[in-house]
Symmetry: C2
Subunit: 374 residues, 2 copies
């Protein structure tokens, strides 16, 4: 099938770029002696996951229990649900474990540790737990030096079984360049190793020492003391990751196919059917050196059209302008022209769609379904 036969707007996944990114990270983790536990939250697709993982059974990371349930139903056995669990989700996690899923949950406070321990006692179930460590103040987690760390570990009793520690260098998304990312990676590693050592010294059994974010996983040079690396958007890439320095624009594997539906000649605008519903409202590049609005513009074959970007977006309209201020001539992009838009944030754009149209050598070779929801 030709790309031009697809209904717009829709997602295009460049198979070669995607597989290259997957393989690069597999090779790196192997070389540095850590397990790769890819995050499946970007793709939310069986086919994407199969290419990311080192085996059909995992290991892998998920951001929702629906992801855990779906990927388990497709054969993935070793999963970490890497968002702090809360009481109303205990029984759903337990159901998966009863079915044979080696699901691990995370938490960062004594309150949840006690509640989970009570739940496990009452339900006669063992739930493996990692304590979430805050390495950079980005969001959740307990500081590696916090007195609470030992308190949380001690509050895990009965079936709530401490198996490890986990951190995510979320602040690395704000880094620019390899040096800054490497520094974030070193801090991520130092933090998790410190937390693991404190727990080990206090007599706790720590098997899994888990780090990861795409910027730190890409630039880290040393994972000594860590057992595994998690990362997600590395497999696809986006403009934010390009701004961080992880990728060049031509490496990005995901784009939105759109069609020109009109112009505003006087303003030099090209208007397409790719609005924020299809691109997502993500404006991640707004705080970076180059602000791409709602996305950078390529021709239908994926060739980057310098200076063109989606400056404005309504629900089903995208407005492309030239960054130089020069008006775009309607003759250059007549109504019906197909274009491809590179997203600010692949996780956010992909979430607006039900499938990826996989393209290789200019042809659409497959449609990979994806899912949404919780």
């Amino acid at each position: 099938m030709e790309i031009t036969e697809l209904r717009t707007p829709c997602l295009i996944l460049d198979e070669k770029k995607f597989r290259d990114h997957c393989n690069w990270m597999k090779d790196k983790c192997k070389r540095l002696g850590v397990n790769l536990r890819p995050h499946l939250k970007t793709g939310k697709s069986r086919e994407v996951a199969l290419c990311q993982m080192i085996s059909q059974e995992g290991p892998a990371t998920v951001s929702t229990l629906l992801e855990a349930e779906n990927f388990f139903s497709w054969g993935v056995r070793d999963l970490i649900y890497a968002v702090g669990i809360s009481p109303s989700k205990f029984s759903r996690a337990a159901e998966l474990i009863k079915k044979g899923c080696r699901l691990k949950v995370i938490l960062d406070n004594v309150e949840t540790a006690k509640a989970l321990s009570n739940f496990c006692e009452k339900s006669h179930i063992e739930i493996p737990v990692l304590i979430e460590i805050d390495c950079d103040g980005h969001r959740s987690g307990v500081k590696p030096v916090s007195p609470d760390l030992i308190g949380i570990a001690s509050a895990l009793t009965d079936g709530a079984k401490l198996v490890g520690v986990l951190t995510h260098a979320g602040d690395s998304y704000g880094c620019v360049g390899s040096k800054a990312c490497r520094k974030a990676a070193e801090n991520e590693r130092d933090s998790i190793v410190l937390a693991a050592n404190r727990l080990k010294e206090a007599g706790f059994n720590i098997e899994i020492i888990s780090v990861g974010s795409t910027p730190t996983a890409t630039f880290a040079e040393n994972w000594a003391g860590c057992t595994e690396v998690r990362c997600g958007v590395y497999c696809i890439g986006d403009l934010v990751m390009a701004g961080v320095g992880v990728y060049k624009l031509e490496d990005l594997a995901l784009s939105l196919l759109v069609e020109v539906i009109g112009h505003q000649k006087e303003k030099g605008w090209v208007i397409t059917d790719g609005g924020w519903m299809a691109l997502s409202r993500d404006r991640g590049t707004a705080s970076q050196a180059v602000d791409y609005g709602y996305g950078a513009v390529c021709d239908v074959n994926g060739k980057i059209l310098d200076n063109l970007y989606v400056k404005l977006a309504n629900q089903e309209h995208g407005v492309i302008v030239n960054r130089t201020g020069e008006a775009i001539s309607p003759e250059d992009f007549p109504v019906g022209t197909k274009l491809r838009i590179l997203p600010n944030h692949a996780c956010a754009m992909a979430a607006q769609h039900h499938s990826y149209h996989v393209v290789n050598d200019g042809k659409v070779i497959a449609e990979w379904p994806r899912f949404c929801g919780w």
Copy 2:
């Protein structure tokens, strides 16, 4: 079912507020002597649409051909697809018309008018067309005074049958207060009436003269010369509409149910499972007088908690802070606490979900499915 039994994150629709908004707009349009053609793009739900429309057969407005197909399959007959049509969508629109849908399309340029005329000639089909008028420079459309207007009408030949004109006062979303919205409504009406009159004087048959946006539809006092009004988000409301002055916070019918999953005590943060995946990345209030971050916070019963808002959001984490800078005490919102978040933009938040949990008098009385895609 109790609200607290729902899985988080999920949408809550307050039935009474929603039905009141629907009825208010029906009454207003009746009183002012225009047809209400509600936009179904916010709800994307059969049940929401049935309450918005004056009859099960419509009229109604849609933003995608998938909406047209779905609502037609549920019995809606009179539809306007209110995004400029482009060549690759002609045959899909024609299919609906062949099945008996009274679908009308819009366009704003000679190029598309000619292409559609050719298509209709070759396909032996009649497709009713409205010319899109640009009343405020917001996005698409031809200016009412433009010489192109008559050219577009003249380019519609064969089955491409001109039936009317349509405009959308998109810039009214930037208005604050009733006076500014009324001015935008007057401009919207003046523009469309001017365009309609120019076409009539040139000998064209103009049956439908269509205006609409929630701010202008709410505050307009005079629709003389217009035949119908389109609006969508009025039926639900959101923080952006509250900032415009259309609603008070307590009128908003849609919220996201979330659960507290942790805290950062030192920072005074409450962390929930409602991240940007569930709230959307929309930051519509960022440019308004009160910036609500990713949403305003209510208790589980919908009571607004003054000064609390979702300042930060990751994919599956929302961070609630107090606007005054005062730290929120974890004891006030222990892990497991359910809260409700009012969205910046109802269309964007709803699009992240598969259903609405309809609440009346504190009980969940129904689950209304919704759809996504194109």
